[in-house]
Amino acid sequence: MSKFSSKKSKEIPAVNTASLPDIVFMLLFFFMVTTTMRDLEMLVGVLKPKATEIQKIERKDLTTYIYVGTPNNTESYGSEPRVQLDDQLGLVSDVQAFVILKREEINEKERPKFMVSIKADVNVKMGLISDIKQELRKAQALKVMYSSSPASSAEDLYRSM
């Protein structure tokens, strides 16, 4: 044995870091693929309601979001719930044109899958939501999702009401 043992082997060998770039690159690609750049500044505060019967949005790129909630900047915009379309506050009467415009942007073949996700705050009154729904019906955008966060159980849901 002593024939093969060299002086070097008595020291603690350095950890082989050759595979470190591979590992890091793997993580990097994972995050690159899953990342979505936050390109939207939220002008209204939205706390989503809870629900148990929720479904995932199938195609994010075919979905348009409408945010409804109390403006963050209450000094300029007041404390009444407002509608946010893309990066500005709009009126309910703008919703129809906005949704039609968004639908025009997507490929004609995939337009039947077009969907509108309403992200509304729990404290918004249904009057405003109903008006938005009417606008969506006028725009023939009939697939609608009420964005909600998952509730752990039905009891949890009743308590939050």
Binding site: P21, E53, M126, G127, I129, R137, Q140, L142
Partner: protein, 190 residues
Amino acid sequence: MARNKRATPEINAGSMADIAFLLLIFFLVTTTMDVDKGLAVRLPPWSEEPQDESNDIREKNIFVVLVNANNDLLVEDDYLSIDQLRSAAKDFIDNNGDGTCEVCRGLQLPSSSDNPKKAILSMQNDRGTNYSTYVTVRNELIAAYSELRQDLALRRFGIDYTDLSDESRKEINAFYPQIISEAEPVKIGG
């Protein structure tokens, strides 16, 4: 050894990890992984004239859920709390009054729905109802259908509804089609 020295030297990959880490941290910070989820509904098409009140639907086939501006429920002329709504809706859908539904296990009351294909859950809210209440009520109505479908899936195929193939799922959906209608909201209070 001497021959090896003449070959092209290896590129120093020591800094590769640093570069990759830098990119990794950038994407870690900018990433948002909120998968958007929610209750999927289908709105009725828009029509200028008010909905024709067709009377060919018998009143006993409609399960009326009213929500007022104080977020109280009135279900079939009874005050119910939200945790009672799901089972009430299930009893109504599964009632099978005319006996044509061979998979139903309802009580066959003459005053409740004929069969699940005719049963309609109708929901109407006030303009002052809270959005969270609306979503919860809507959630309960959808849940009533999902629970009935799940029961049937277990009885018929012995597996969960979510694990079924598309054809089997269609078969079950045919027994329990999801019919939820929404009336225009009223403005009483709020």
